[in-house]
């Protein structure tokens, strides 16, 4: 028997159903309004212009803590540097207007502009330059070590300083065009707050309201800057992004104007999406390095014939093709593979053509007809195709590689502590003199077995004391010697991939991993 009242109740929605329906409607409205906010960035006509880029997290703003080459984009908005580096890597004026070495190359006199103030009102004068160099030099950082040869900074007058060096330093001038030569307010240095609060004389100042540490950094135009024409944007924003896909997607949706790309494949995707893509070798080198030329752990590597055999065993064209397609250039030499400075010699790239038979012949001559075993760091997580191709080439001539797998940071540490006799790696900062400092000298960090070749040592000493064409000729002689004695097995110049929106152009700079801020401009 039916209950009339129940039939009546059943005809109306229950309270529970009403709640559900209301919630569903509210959800749909919320979702639609969220979707309508859409995506994209860019500037509207009449608004301040903003350049938004993606970058990995920086190292704070204290100049004593920096690693040169990677994080300048955080610092260039707020700090001037003594010199300006051109896209070709040439040193030009900036805060410094004139400079000159003495005959011994151990006293560098620098004249600076007299019309610059820091954002806290302090004058940028010779005392400020002295304070900065002395502060930066004290840090525990690569930037600090670039000033290791500066013994003393003499203030001659308000706009002249002399840097007295313990020894000639061919890299000092270009280093002073990057983080080592950046200038913060001496008062801010004294106050000790630079790590989080930069105070410089740069084209922008840090906008704390638009900045979330570790996530986004916003810089607004410094109205008193002395060279505004070089910086066409009113605002500069850095979004901290580490995922290559996220960066590419943000470029495609217009949320950022520029950012690094992860691979050659990403370059193609970016090009197909209408973005401007630049693929540039910045001087870094990828090579199979022979750390144990002393033969301490792997006697075979002490024999030059074995090292030459390995050079013959590597099919550089195939390795580069596998890893980078057409974007990288194979090479057999360590110096200046990307610059026309007279050191690089095209003839040296013909010394070790791919020839596994020749490699086996040399190994047999050296007493290794069956090859030998070696443990190498496993870089397959970073460069899988390159790693696999190299291991295969070595296996083809009887060199049996056991890969040692560990996180990237520990790979570097293990290598520097002499954990491996040889290994592939991308090597940073290939300025000729820096390469000597970091790889070739017996006490160089990347010479963990402290191998010394008297001929190399003699050439290094002559290079340090020379300048101009004489120095170039000596570098060229050293370059040849390193190839002929198979100091290592260079494979290719590292290629960096960078993309900008169609409205922005960026010009890379030699020896910089990322285009500097002053090399960005509107496409029109």
């Amino acid at each position: 028997m039916h209950d009339e009242s129940a039939r009546g109740r059943a005809a109306r929605p229950s309270r529970s159903a009403k709640v559900v329906l209301s919630a569903a409607t509210a959800g749909a409205v919320l979702l639609t309004s969220a979707a309508c906010t859409g995506a994209g960035g860019g500037n509207s006509a009449g608004e301040d212009t903003t350049l938004t880029i993606a970058a990995a997290a920086g190292l704070g703003f204290d100049l004593a803590d920096q690693q040169p080459g990677w994080f300048e984009q955080y610092l260039q908005p707020v700090y001037d540097s003594l010199f300006r580096i051109s896209p070709d890597g040439e040193v030009g004026p900036n805060v410094a207007t004139e400079w000159e070495y003495d005959d011994s190359l151990t006293a560098l006199t620098i004249d600076i502009r007299t019309d610059i103030e820091f954002s806290d009102g302090e004058s940028l004068d010779a005392d400020a330059v002295k304070a900065n160099i002395e502060h930066t030099r004290t840090g525990a950082s690569t930037t600090a070590s670039q000033l290791q040869n500066v013994e003393d900074v003499e203030v001659v007058d308000a706009d002249t300083v002399v840097l007295h060096l313990s020894a000639p330093d061919p890299s000092l001038l270009p280093n002073l065009g990057m983080t080592a030569g950046m200038l913060a307010s001496p008062a801010a240095i004294e106050a000790g707050g630079l790590k989080t609060t930069p105070v410089g004389s740069g084209p922008y100042t840090l906008d704390t309201a638009g900045t979330t540490e570790g996530s986004q950094y916003t810089y607004v135009r410094n109205p008193d800057y002395w060279n505004p024409d070089d910086y066409p944007y009113d605002r500069f924003v850095i979004k901290v992004l580490t995922d290559n896909n996220a960066i590419l997607n943000a470029l495609r949706t217009g949320q950022i104007d520029a950012g690094p790309l992860g691979s050659a494949k990403d370059s193609k995707t970016a090009s197909d999406a209408g973005l401007n893509v630049i693929n540039y070798p910045n001087g870094d080198l990828e090579a199979l390095y022979f750390y144990d030329k002393t033969g301490t752990t792997t006697p075979a590597l002490a024999d030059v014939r074995v090292r030459q055999a390995i050079n013959y065993a590597l099919d550089r064209d195939a390795i580069v093709k596998a890893g980078y397609g057409d974007l990288a250039t194979p090479t057999m030499q360590m110096f200046s593979i990307t610059r026309d400075d007279g050191i690089f010699d095209p003839a040296l790239d013909e010394v070790y053509p791919y020839d596994p038979d020749k490699a086996r012949e040399l190994l047999a001559e050296a007493g290794y007809p069956d090859g030998f075993d070696v443990v190498m760091p496993d870089w397959s997580g970073y460069a899988p195709e390159v790693n696999a191709a190299i291991n295969q080439n070595l296996a083809d001539v009887g060199i049996r590689v056991t890969p040692d797998t560990m996180p990237l940071e520990q790979l570097y540490g293990n290598t520097l502590q002499g954990g491996y006799a040889m290994g592939w790696q991308p090597y940073e900062d290939n300025r000729p003199w820096d390469l000597i400092q970091f790889q070739l000298k017996p006490d160089a960090p990347w010479n963990p077995f402290h191998y010394e070749d008297p001929q190399v040592t003699e050439l290094i000493s002559k290079i340090q004391a020379a300048s101009g064409d004489e120095q170039t000729a000596l570098f060229k002689e050293l370059n040849r010697y390193l190839v002929e004695t198979a100091w290592s097995a260079p494979i290719n110049a590292t290629v960096f991939n960078y993309a900008t929106s169609a409205e922005v152009v960026a010009t890379p700079q030699a020896f910089a991993k990322r285009p500097p801020l002053y090399n960005f401009a509107p496409a029109d």
């Binding site: 570790g214 997607n249 949706t253």
Partner: protein, 314 residues
């Protein structure tokens, strides 16, 4: 109730100390290369040693841990060894990201799981039940990061309906906040719904077979009241357990989604800091994560007590 909370606080303190001490020990065991990582591959051995000394790596473990603990109790978690940013500031920026993702995912998942699970249970054996079960299984099969990549390609890059990257705090703009979390929450919720809806369905089926439900049905209780007010309330606790476990897993499990969407939450912070060896950040994030997990467990207990008054929280 007072004794209940007092006991919980005591347990929380012990748990935090145990977890942080273990974490500190593990990180310290692998910190031999962190100084080199900070100063770069081209720094000399002297520079590396100087940095290691600055970081206190040459001091005994116990001294370093108790110095850290003393600072943490005062609210000072130190600064990142790599970026020099204050860990406190970092946590202040990143906790809202993770909490937004986790809470929104849990809420959306709870609602969808209830709808899906209850519907499947009511229509047991029918085509609706079968379709919903297949869909739930598909949710298990697709990793959330694959779903995330597809969502961002379609709805952000192609259609432009939602942003591809970034998180907008709720306090800055509720609308933009919502827009920024729709896609990542959708990607995260799929697997949570897959697990929870199945639990809801199974529990509902058990409860619907019980005598008191048959009694209510025979008394003419409306279906909606029967299912939603009576049966679901009894079926909820097991599903709540599953949801609770999923939400705990989400605390650190959002890392891949955070990377895909360029949202820098606790997940990316701890993964990045762990691989680099950035001890202050790892310790700060772990401390916060432990506290969040303790809070989730407390909320679960209170929820059980509300659902079933017979459960005593003391």
């Amino acid at each position: 109730m007072t004794w209940f909370f007092a006991r919980r606080i005591g347990e929380a303190v012990v748990l935090v100390i145990a977890v942080t001490m273990l974490t500190f020990a593990l990180m310290s065991a692998t910190s031999s290369t962190v100084a080199r990582s900070i100063v770069g591959q081209t720094a000399s051995a002297e520079v590396v040693a100087q940095k290691a000394s600055e970081l206190g790596l040459d001091k005994p473990f116990a001294e370093r841990y108790f110095v850290w603990l003393g600072g943490a109790i005062r609210g000072d978690f130190g600064a990142s060894w790599f970026t020099n940013e204050s860990v406190g500031s970092l946590l202040f920026a990143k906790v809202p990201v993770t909490i937004s993702l986790v809470l929104a995912t849990v809420l959306v998942s709870a609602v969808v799981s209830v709808v899906v699970g209850v519907t499947a249970a009511i229509r047991r054996g029918g085509w609706v039940d079968r379709i919903l079960q297949v869909v739930a299984l598909a949710g298990f099969a697709f990793p959330s990061f694959v779903v995330a990549l597809l969502l961002v390609l379609v709805f952000a890059v192609q259609l432009g309906w939602f942003p591809a990257i970034g998180f907008v705090p709720l306090t800055e703009s509720p609308q933009l906040w919502l827009s920024s979390i729709v896609l990542p929450v959708t990607a995260l919720a799929i697997q949570v719904v897959a697990a929870t809806s199945q639990q809801v369905r199974g529990s509902m089926l058990d409860v619907l077979e019980s005598d008191y439900i048959r009694t209510l049905r025979s008394r003419g209780t409306s279906p909606s009241s029967l299912y939603l007010r009576h049966a679901l309330r009894s079926a909820a606790p097991p599903a709540l357990t599953v949801l609770g476990l999923q939400s705990i897993a989400l605390i650190g499990g959002t890392v891949i989604i955070e990377k895909v969407f360029g949202m820098l939450g606790l997940g990316t912070a701890i993964v990045g800091a762990s691989s680099q060896g950035d001890l202050p950040i790892v310790m700060g994030v772990v401390s916060v994560m432990v506290l969040i997990i303790i809070a989730i467990n407390l909320l679960l207990d209170l929820a059980y007590a509300w659902l079933n008054p017979k459960v005593r929280v003391a």
